[in-house]
Amino acid sequence: MDLDGFRDPGVARSVIQAIHDTATSPVKLMEVCGTHTVAIAKHGLREVMPETITLLSGPGCPVCVTSNSDIDTAIEFGKQPDVIVTTFGDMMKVPGSYSSLSQEKADGRDIRVVYSPLDALDIAEKNAEAHVVFIGVGFETTVPVIASAIQQAGRRGIENFSVFSAHKTVPEALRALVDDPDVAVGGFILPGHVSTIIGLEPYRFLAEEYGVPSVITGFEPVDVLQGVYMLAKQVAEGRAEVEVAYTRAVPPEGNPAAVAKMNEVFEPCNAEWRGIGVIPGTGLSIREEYARYDALVRVPVTPPEPKEVKGCQCGEVLRGVTLPFECKLFGRACTPEHPVGPCMVSSEGSCAAYYRYTDYGKSP
């Protein structure tokens, strides 16, 4: 067992031993957080698992699950006269049906990467003659931030700013995964920073309605291992609960002030997830009261009919039914330098994590 990469190999070894002793019946555990995906790939955690435990990567990266039609819509905003598109950097290289934001920028469109939606507000203030559209992509970690930016636009009297809301919420997507017979998830490793906002309550249905255990955990390899151990223990004892291995950053109630802001500005709608399809109630649209900050209202666009990239299996990868290196394009036609699908673009995408940290597919 190579544990050199661990800060405390002794602790890692004893947790791994405990997992081996506990996991006597086969179970598939899925992580739904890109940072966990990176930690698992980088530290080779799959390789130290007993045969009974299969670790799957789920739809844990907001960029990766953004549908082609949403990316096409974002690109369409950039083509409108006097529109400045602002976006988080992760979105730039993601291919849509026909182009990407970085391709469009190279072709002369005004598309700018910002670190915060507040930077987009500053750009709007400085460019009164233009309209600034912010491409809103992210889970519950990010949504309250965007909600607050919209309210701040109101307070600052900024009228030439709007948001294209392609946000998604996590819990109901987990329901779609447990309902999917191809996936057969037996337990979830839940995302730490989504949970720091929403707390425990929204996940309870997993245990209560489906009898599926889940554990919220942090990003250190030992945290992930501890999460796996807690899941294996629940399975072995025939329990199903939502547990937290990450108590210092995740109070059970989350951040109620942030959730309140999110609900003031947004309301649930249906959302299309790449590879999974439409999941009811997992999207967020901007409420009527804030319609003047809704890009779909302010800058009406008609994106072209979306089309899927041939051969890219991101959909299956995101559902955990295919591993990245099982895709024929992995490491050949598709690399981080020339990504074919979003799972290879985003640094937290499963394909990129496998490519960077494992040997699969690299040696022919």
């Binding site: 800060r7 957080c33 890109g34 940072t35 990176v38 930690a39 980088k42 990266c61 907001p62 960029v63 988080f88 950097g89 992760d90 670190y115 915060s116 939606p117 507040l118 930077d119 992509v137 992210g138 889970f139 970690t141 990010t142 309250p144 931030v145 607050s148 309210q151 701040q152 995302p191 920073h193 989504v194 720091t196 906002i197 942090g218 990003f219 250190e220 210092r248 950053a249 109070p251 951040n255 002030a257 942030a258 802001k261 985003s346 640094s347 937290e348």
Partner: protein, 84 residues
């Protein structure tokens, strides 16, 4: 992209903003989502906003870990104000 980086609140500013120290870099972030945050508190910062108050020990451990995972660099690059 759901990563949040621990930072220490240096001083409170107008409009619910605060100056924070993130791995030695000083930045201005919004405290809109953590109205309870004070000077010297540790907060998790995401996309220019503090999103949760955490304890100091947690903050330090996480920073170390982020460095190990090479993720902090990516986030910190994004944090650098343009032109520097």
């Amino acid at each position: 992209m759901c990563l949040a980086i621990p930072a220490r609140v240096i001083s409170l500013e107008d409009q619910n903003m605060a100056e924070v120290d993130i791995m030695g870099v000083s930045r201005h972030v919004s405290l809109d989502l953590v109205p309870e945050a004070h000077e010297d508190d540790y907060v998790l910062v995401h996309a220019g906003f503090a999103i949760q108050v955490v304890d100091e020990q947690y903050a330090e451990e996480t920073l170390e870990l982020l460095k190990e995972l090479d993720i902090a660099d990516i986030e910190l690059e994004a944090l650098e104000p343009e032109g520097t």
